[in-house]
Symmetry: C2
Subunit: 336 residues, 2 copies
């Protein structure tokens, strides 16, 4: 098995409230902040020995206050290279300003000052269990953390979703770290916190932080196969051609069956008059984000993915010497 | 068994979108409107013979457009005698204006011009199945319709909830009809439509209209016992005394267990740090509206009810002679 030695991860950000009505992340980050406040100086010294610092961030406080997804525009689409670097208008949307603030705090995106890992916490109304969502299917850090959570929380159904988008085009908060992923957990209605979902998220974040600590401390993590779902396309609801209003809901035989293979001809929608509409695609694919509340306005009734297996190498942290050598290499690459 | 003869119900209103993000009612009323539009004149004549007219009303179109519960204030709290009759301010909240429009259309509340029956369609994030919510435990029309639905839809768990509030104090849209109730179905996230919930609501409304038609046509409905849950009190979330932010979620052992008897000492909340808080009441009661999204801002984590059985009499519609005699009686009562 190949061994890959990777740089240490001294700065980790845990973010919640990027969507102000996805409450597990909001209350979990608040809880982490409370614990940090109440931790004594002595305990903090102990923590520091843990080889990393954890930044806890409430990403969209105004939207949280209103318990809405956003104020002016979806913050989690504001982190592309283009949006972060275009001139601001006179009265910029709140989230355009906020994305720059967050990029200054946790980035700048693509720079070596960026935090090492961003974990952004989300909820969905879809029955997706716990999902990692990442722009890479070869970020060994993200994939190893995913596999660690799978092993530590065997009772939770867990998937790794890959959006095949370049770093410049990547649009979400987690894209501003050197490594990053969203943790998406459902089903939970937006504006509601359910204990079981909250507790799952809390365990997931704890195991993620544990993994980073183990990694920074020199633990070697064995490689192996990881199942990855690569996003292929979105499917919209059937709509009235005049009013654009939807004319059907997800079919009861598809509802809640995220990640169950959808075959050509399978029921997909049920119109409000009771007719069944079927999946017309030619390839069997895996549906996810089935009936996600926030995606009605985006024109997405569900997304479809192809499943593959990715062989991930054994990883361990670089020694100081390796890191030094790597930095030199990185510098000379930059100069090219 | 006692026989009660009641006036005909020639005008029935079916309302949806009173809360703009409770989508089953929104799409069901739109579907009923579409069917009405597409019904030919000849079919309409057939319908007219059905002994009643059905008004279909989208109650809060602006909130529906935004897919939010309301614009300025909760429309479904705007139908008290006091609010409907107080002078309007210069810039009145949208829902204050809208409630007067609806009262003019379907009421006036308490008058003999009011429609005979208002059925207002709602959704909840709580696992409540199908509930009738009414201000009366002795409105034989509402109770008979409820029992009809129970018999016609035995696969659906169904309850009758009674809010013991006077007609003047009653605040919801359904209170402006001569008879009225809300149909509340869950669990469904707000802003989402689920086929199973939509279909249940559609069947419920159809059976309700069938019953009114049978009743108006002279069918006698046998009396009997009906289980009624009378609202006793609301319980708020534990909150931080400085920020008022909630510090706990519904306990996983209580979540989704609406209408399962809650005993003193049973787990009620789980704090965000993991502690269990228990029900401190002295009386075992039936919880409902457990973790309803819209009630976070109202300070309601759940409501508690006492169960009883109500003996409802056999009913049939009054003959024309009986109706005439009754009208005279009603008139002389009014003159008193």
């Amino acid at each position: 098995m190949e061994l890959v030695c990777l740089p240490r991860l001294p700065r980790v950000a845990v973010c919640g409230g990027t969507h102000g009505n996805e409450l597990s992340g909001v209350y979990l980050v608040r809880e982490l902040l409370r614990v940090q406040r109440e931790t004594s100086e002595k305990e903090k010294e102990e923590e520091d020995k843990k080889s990393m610092s954890v930044l806890t961030v409430l990403a969209n406080p105004k939207a949280m206050q209103r318990c809405s997804r956003y104020i002016d525009t979806d913050l989690n689409r504001c982190f592309t290279h283009a949006i972060l670097n275009s001139p601001l208008s006179d009265k910029p949307p709140y989230e355009m300003v906020r994305s720059r603030d967050l990029n200054a705090l946790l980035g700048p995106k693509g720079s070596c000052e960026a935090v090492d890992l961003v974990c952004d916490l989300h909820n969905t109304t879809a029955n997706m269990g716990l999902c990692f969502i990442s722009y890479s299917d070869c970020d060994w850090i993200c994939l190893h953390i995913f596999r660690h959570l799978q092993r530590q929380m065997p009772e939770i159904s867990m998937r790794y979703i890959h959006f095949d988008v370049s770093n410049r085009e990547s649009y979400s908060l987690d894209s501003i770290g050197k490594h990053g992923f969203a943790i998406e957990i459902g089903p939970q209605p937006h504006g509601v916190v359910r204990s079981n979902i909250y507790t799952t998220m809390k365990s997931g974040v704890q195991h993620m932080l544990d993994w980073v600590h183990f990694f920074n401390s020199g633990t070697t993590f064995e490689g192996g196969l990881v199942e990855v779902f690569t996003m292929v396309k979105n499917i919209d609801y059937p709509r009235d051609c005049v009013t654009c209003s939807i004319t059907a809901a997800i079919h009861p035989k598809l509802q809640d069956r995220d990640f169950c293979l959808l075959h050509p001809g399978d029921p997909m929608f049920q119109t409000f008059s009771g007719e069944t509409l079927r999946y017309k695609g030619k390839e069997a694919l895996y549906p996810f984000f089935i009936n996600e509340c926030a995606y009605y306005e985006k024109g997405i009734a569900l997304s479809l993915a192809r499943k593959k297996h990715v062989m991930i190498p054994t990883v361990r942290v670089q020694t100081e010497q390796e890191e030094q050598a790597n930095k030199l290499g990185f510098a000379s690459e930059e100069e090219e």
